[in-house]
């Protein structure tokens, strides 16, 4: 284990998430059983247990959200540990070609990079259902409880993977050369996209982005008539889901070289140190996609009376976030 302030903090936060996740899983299953028991008294006991769980859930949400940027701070802090490594891209390759436990480092990191946003999304789903349940005076509390259990399970699995990543020794690997240094860049950094595919990627990214903003802008009126809004919301959700892989690909292949002013350097990780303002762009884009998903959850799973009051502000935020992100990219691409 590489010991520094960030890795110790990340390990501590992961341990806390495991403890909280296990408590939530144990007590949540108990509350679900009580709710399914006979009588109003059993249901009341279940509700009481749920509100205790909700407090723990809030702590888990905070830790789950904080652990996402913390992972990248940990990876950034690992960069000076190996000579020749210049950014996080190199750290993600530590363990490649190893035969011991270190060989599991790259897949573990891949899992973590997917599980972090999943945990944040799951926590958001739970908060939406929790707030909706409270507004409807406890109606549909079972759904919120189930969402909290899923959120706890995901957060625990994520924390276990993170602890494993932090704990596995990283000394046995040797790198032949640098990470992001040009000589050792993978083909994806300078190869396949170099011959005009960036144009196709840009067209797809902007088409989906503009279509999404237009859909969200036209949706407010439709959402007021909730029955007519279902198909529209499904379309917005589909576009938001498509915008995620497109956004990730566009960030690495087109936006990062522009922000860094390095036309041949396709590395999104270098944005952390090279163009910190682009992190706001990433946060806006991700929060926009999440907000559309949470709005869909509110519109389709929340109790009848609280659907629109919850979904509308989320969709407004999504529209603002996408417009802001696209504006930032557009302005940067326009600078000569």
């Amino acid at each position: 284990m590489i010991l520094n302030a960030f890795s110790v903090l990340a390990a501590f936060a992961a341990l806390l998430r495991i403890v909280l996740g296990l408590i939530i899983a144990g007590a949540g299953l108990g509350a679900l059983r009580r709710r399914s028991g006979d009588g109003a008294a059993a249901e009341e006991r279940g509700e009481e247990r749920y509100f205790l769980l909700a407090s723990l859930g809030m702590a888990l949400v905070g830790l789950g959200i904080a652990s996402w940027p913390l992972l990248y701070l940990v990876l950034q802090s690992y960069v000076p540990e190996w000579p020749g490594i210049m950014c996080i891209e190199g750290v993600t390759r530590i363990g490649n070609g190893s035969v011991g436990a270190a060989s599991s480092l790259p897949p573990l990191l891949g899992v973590l990079q997917v599980s972090k946003p999943l945990v944040v999304f799951a926590c958001g789903v739970w908060i939406v259902l929790h707030v909706a349940g409270r507004r409807a005076r406890g109606a549909h509390a079972g759904r919120a409880l189930a969402a909290l259990l899923v959120c706890g399970a995901l957060a625990t699995a994520d924390a276990v993977a993170e602890l494993a990543y932090l704990g596995i020794p990283k000394q046995e690997t040797t790198l032949a050369s640098g990470c992001c240094s040009v000589g050792s860049q993978p083909a994806s950094h300078t190869g396949p996209l170099a011959n005009g595919s960036t144009g196709l990627l840009s067209a797809a990214f902007w088409s989906v982005g503009v279509a999404l903003v237009a859909t969200l802008a036209s949706g407010e009126r439709r959402l007021r008539r909730m029955a007519a809004g279902g198909r529209w919301l499904a379309m917005a959700l589909g576009l938001a889901i498509a915008s995620v892989p497109l956004g990730v690909a566009y960030l690495g292949a087109v936006a990062a070289p522009a922000f860094l002013r390095l036309p041949h350097h396709r590395c999104a990780y270098c944005l952390i140190a090279g163009a910190p303002e682009s992190l706001l762009l990433v946060a806006l884009y991700a929060s926009g996609a999440f907000a559309v998903g949470w709005a869909a959850v509110a519109a389709w799973l929340a109790p009848q009376g609280s659907r629109r009051p919850l979904a509308l502000p989320l969709l407004r935020w999504a529209r603002f976030a996408y417009v802001g992100a696209l504006l930032m990219v557009g302005v940067r691409m326009a600078i000569p």
Binding site: P83, G84, M86, S177, G178, C180, S181, V182, G183, T190, F259, L260, R261, L262, H264, H265, C270, G274, A275, P276, E277, S278, L280, L284, F320, V323, G324, L327, M328, V331, R332, I335
Partner: protein
């Protein structure tokens, strides 16, 4: 209330739009490698004057070689002579792939020498090998450059 909220949104969006401009302005002029953006240490710095006459700095020979390969023959390439620290034309330099890390080293392990005897002495002292023929940095563009100069 509605107008106030709208004005707030417009101001926020204007602020977001200004951020890339401000960030780009603050970063301009920073002496980082034109290929991978890392800070440049003077002993390994490579200076390339491209076809348009713009000066581009690189952290190492390999970055410069890769950039030249992607962008075509430049007007001139200057590398640093290891023993003296002076600038020499890449076309007349001797290159050694070296495991030595002294004197800030070179990120790519390639060192340049003005004299063949210095390069050979370096290989005898630290190991490594001379880069000659197709393995020589800038081998692909040197002929093109010299041809253009001759015309």
């Amino acid at each position: 209330m509605r107008w106030r909220r709208l004005r707030l949104r417009v101001v926020a969006l204007a602020g977001l739009a200004a951020l890339p401009v401000v960030g780009d302005g603050l970063r301009r002029g920073a002496g980082n490698c034109a290929m991978d953006g890392v800070a440049i240490a003077t002993p390994s710095c490579v200076r390339v004057v491209d076809a348009d006459g713009s000066l581009r700095l690189f952290c190492c020979v390999r970055c410069a070689d890769r950039w030249v390969g992607l962008n075509g023959a430049p007007r001139s390439i200057l590398v640093i002579d290891g023993p003296t620290g002076g600038q020499i034309d890449a076309g007349s330099a001797w290159f050694v792939r070296s495991p030595a890390t002294w004197g800030d080293g070179a990120p790519d392990g390639i060192r340049a020498f003005a004299r063949r005897s210095d390069a050979e002495r370096h290989v005898r002292a630290y190991g490594g090998r001379m880069l000659e023929g197709a393995a020589r940095p800038f081998a692909g563009v040197e002929e093109e450059m010299h041809g253009a100069l001759g015309e």
